[in-house]
Symmetry: C2
Subunit: 152 residues, 2 copies
DNA sequence: CGTCTATATTTGATATTGTCAACACAACGA
DNA sequence: TCGTTGTGTTGACAATATCAAATATAGACG
């Protein structure tokens, strides 16, 4: 598992991306960006804390919440809704949607045919200005269909 | 405000609906169904507890969670995701989606052109069997656009 | 290179949301 | 009416998110 899903970025490359987004460069921000980039998305705040800690840097949850809020504001990460009680975050690259398994809770990416926000326009445009449309598909994933008693 | 959004149902009418769904009829279930029916949806569990209490019946949150879980299983109510940290429930009538205002957090209904689940099929059907597709539209509602400093 | 200031991080407390287990109670059918 | 089985209740608990105040640091400027 030395080589995660995405190729690693040097600290400098991450720092450049932060600066491009108009953000100050700090060690904690670089660390959070790295784990978000290397894992293939769908990280909760606590998972970020743990992954960063596994690399030898420990930061309080509050710090990660602050960082995520900044990243969200700068458009660096997107917030994926996977149901109540948990917010998942991932690097904002291609716009896509999510499939959530009712049995094991796993989250899968579902490509968006449009690929950019807001990908869908609601019927009622008099409600307000829509800038994003996120779809949650629910059902049972193939893994859980084949082994009914499997849990996560 | 004596007459809420939907016309009131008698206890008997609600009891019949519960029995049709194969559920036992209890006072708490009737009370929960009533507030869900009379308010026009988008109720959190705590809001249900408060609305029921305002009518003179106090039930613990746990009871409402149990009831909601039963209602969900029986298909009486649908769970609407409006972002992390809060699950909203409403009587399952017409399938529809939701618009969430980024500023004030208000939730608006958005009609679904199809009107029934699952209304959308994902590109990747090899992930699993999709039984529902729920769309969250995000943006700024007209109320918040006109008065920027308004907070809910 | 060193100082300054706005910005970030840390800390601890607290709110919100949802879950677990064990016991008491009530609805429905016999 | 009685008994079985599903419900409601209770209290503790876990997970998630937020607030305020004190401290530390990044980046800019001299």
């Amino acid at each position: 598992m030395d080589q995660p899903v995405h190729p690693g970025l040097t600290d400098e490359a991450i720092a450049d991306r932060l600066r491009e987004a108009g953000l100050r460069v700090t060690k904690s921000r670089v660390a959070v960006y790295r784990v978000l980039h290397e894992s293939d998305g769908h990280l909760s705040v606590d998972e970020i804390v743990e992954l960063v800690a596994a690399r030898g840097e420990r930061y309080p949850r509050m710090t990660v919440y602050n960082i995520i809020a900044r990243f969200l504001g700068a458009g660096l990460v997107m917030q994926a809704d996977a149901g109540p009680g948990r917010a998942l975050y991932e690097i904002a690259e291609r716009w896509h949607h999510h499939f959530v398994c009712r049995v094991c809770g796993s989250v899968y990416d579902v490509p968006c045919v449009v690929g950019r926000k807001p990908c869908l326009e609601p019927d009622a445009s008099d409600i307000g200005e829509v800038d994003e449309a996120q779809i949650i598909f629910r059902g049972v994933c193939t893994a859980c269909t084949s082994s009914p008693h499997h849990e996560n």
